[in-house]
């Protein structure tokens, strides 16, 4: 094991795991709670990355993260607006916004397809100076995600949070109890897209660059993290579910890191991701199936005894007749 998993691999897997956990948290809100498949996630992630990179380049690393969140919020608002006010189906609304964002993202980066942030101040360089050592990146990433997790799990237990959860759970009931479902969807998508963009922004500062294709497949990866977390930690209180999402994200990065370590070529990474997602989603079902087969096998042995008993009964009756 030692040769495959080194400390630095664990470290970088955790760093990326925490950064991408924010997207998984975003999908937790839109997909698990609001029951909306928000396909604008890919574009929104790149939007956060692009906005953050541009503002960081101008010399304001903290403001850059806030700007990324604000941009994400706007994107979420547009997606929600198309759904709730324009009567466009949620999946279509996501795709439309995602397509539009491509142009916007390029424009944000000054009509270039990538931006480099070498020698720029970022919250990671700032952490390096003030914390030092080799763990500073992890501390920053984990700190931000834990903070976001606490805020989200607190928020989801407020009355507004309860209303948002009920909107995804039973819209009929929500309308009948005087809650504006359109408003709840809008707030939910704004919060979730702000998280997606924050994740993109953090990644821009982490890897000191931004690329227009950065967000491709992000929705699949985040979904995988979400489902890994939910199938391992299960569903329970909000805090438990939020922790599950973070755990799932780190585990996913870990699997990818091991795959890379096993000399899987980088070009194959998307295929590996897709496989992990498929397995993660299928796992709960397979678990159920194997439990059923075990039950069937046990029952078969027992039922065979019953069949023998019945046969014996018939035999004694027939013996009596004869």
């Amino acid at each position: 094991m030692g040769s495959i998993i080194t400390l630095s691999i664990v470290q970088s897997a955790l760093e990326l795991g925490f950064i991408y956990a924010l997207v998984a948290l975003a999908l937790f809100i839109s997909f698990s709670i609001l029951n909306i498949a928000d396909l604008s996630t890919d574009g929104c992630f790149t939007l956060g990355c692009a906005v953050c990179a541009t503002v960081t380049l101008a010399g304001h690393p903290v403001l850059a993260l806030l700007a990324a969140m604000a941009a994400g919020m706007c994107s979420g608002f547009v997606t929600a607006f198309l759904q709730t006010k324009m009567g466009i189906q949620s999946i279509l609304a996501g795709i439309i916004v995602n397509t539009g964002l491509y142009t916007i993202n390029i424009a944000v980066m000054g009509f270039a397809s990538n931006v480099n942030l070498f020698n720029c101040k970022s919250i990671f360089t700032w952490a390096k100076e003030s914390i030092g050592g080799t763990w500073y990146k992890l501390i920053v990433a984990a700190g931000i995600v834990v903070l976001a997790g606490i805020v989200i799990s607190f928020f989801l237990n407020t009355r507004l949070g309860l209303s948002i959860r009920a909107t995804g759970d039973n819209p009929d009931m929500v309308r009948a109890s005087s809650i504006n479902t359109g408003l709840m969807i809008t707030i939910g998508l704004c919060v979730s897209n702000a998280l997606t963009a924050l994740s993109g922004g953090l990644l821009a500062q982490y890897q000191k660059s931004c690329d227009i294709n950065l967000g491709t497949g992000m929705v699949t990866i985040a979904l995988a993290s979400l489902i890994i977390g939910e199938s391992i930690l299960g569903k329970g209180s909000m805090i438990k579910r939020v922790l599950g999402v973070m755990f799932g994200s780190c585990l996913y990065r870990f699997i990818v890191a091991v795959a890379l370590r096993l000399n899987v070529p980088a070009e194959c990474l998307k295929l590996v991701s897709a496989l992990i997602v498929a397995i993660a989603i299928a796992l709960p079902y397979l678990k159920k199936q194997s439990a059923f087969y075990q039950q069937k096998r046990k029952a078969k042995a027992k039922n065979q005894e019953y069949i023998e008993e019945i046969k014996a009964e018939i035999a004694t009756k027939e013996g009596g007749k004869a």
Partner: protein, 276 residues
């Protein structure tokens, strides 16, 4: 008596799918006035417009023509979520009134949300005083739900969910309570219990109430008025002495007279056979 009119419907008309082969006139020039504290039962054949009448009041759709006033306020074009602040609505399907993946406590907190008016209350959490209040109200149901407040509502039986929905719909006294066959999907014993609870709550707080039923005895015994609907119209509206004298057979005759045909509702006919 200086009783005030709680609900006034004037010439309310609704046509679904106008201009197509599926055109259906669900409400035809409906006029209805309910006084405060009125408890009216509604009977009628399938597709007579009973649920459509309720949906027009709750604002699931807007009426094509006509006026709807609730407690002196014109709500004809008020949005559904705005008017539902003061309307309680129970459906036949017990699953419709509660959020299955949220706990009993959280569901009740949602219903309780109607009481709060100030904006910052949206960020408040369930207080222990609220929990105590929820517990007391659940204890009144006598279903043991007060000890299961942390459990998701999806684990409850249909009857328990319907009782909880009733509690939630009346947590803030509504101006009007609409009961759309709310006991029809429950087993007889549970239906009885939910109905008793309904009677008690409505009587205690003098709630104006409309109730759809397919049980002709219930239609005549419960409340103080009986309405009969057919083809989007209220064809019969009886109260007082006339209602007291009315028998189930007579009611069916009346229906034949007003609608010009026999009552074609399987469940009503079944219930008639059962009770004979």
């Amino acid at each position: 008596m200086a009783e005030k009119n709680m609900l006034i419907m004037k010439h309310v008309t609704k046509t679904f799918n106008p201009g197509t082969v599926n055109e259906k006139c669900a409400l035809k020039d409906v006029n209805l006035t309910l006084k405060e504290g009125d408890f009216a039962t509604i009977v009628g054949s399938n597709g007579a417009g009973k649920s459509t009448l309720f949906n027009a009041i709750t604002g699931t759709f807007f009426a094509d023509k006509g006026l709807i006033m609730l407690d002196g306020e014109d709500i004809t074009y008020q949005k559904e979520h705005v008017r539902s602040k003061v309307i309680g609505h129970l459906f036949q399907d017990p699953l419709k009134g509660t959020a299955p993946h949220m706990t009993i406590e959280e569901n009740m907190a949602l219903a309780y949300l109607r009481t709060t008016t100030s904006k910052n209350a949206y960020f408040s959490r369930i207080k222990s005083a609220d929990k105590k209040k929820f517990r007391e109200q659940l204890a009144l149901l006598d279903m043991g739900l007060e000890d299961r407040m942390k459990q998701p509502v999806g684990l409850l039986s249909g009857g328990q969910r319907q009782a909880l929905t009733l509690l939630m719909a009346t947590m803030v006294t509504p101006k009007i309570l609409l009961l759309d066959e709310h006991t029809a999907a429950l087993d007889p014993a549970t239906a009885e219990k939910v109905l008793d609870l309904t009677k008690r709550i409505v009587a205690e707080r003098n709630i104006t109430c409309l109730m759809v039923t397919h049980n002709m005895h219930q239609a005549l015994e419960l409340g103080n008025r009986t309405l009969m609907m057919d083809a989007g119209n209220i064809v019969l509206d009886i109260a007082g002495e006339e209602r007291k004298q009315m028998t189930v057979d007579h009611l069916l005759e009346q229906f034949a007279v007003h609608a010009g045909k026999e009552l074609d509702n399987d469940r009503i006919l079944f219930s008639k056979v059962e009770e004979k």
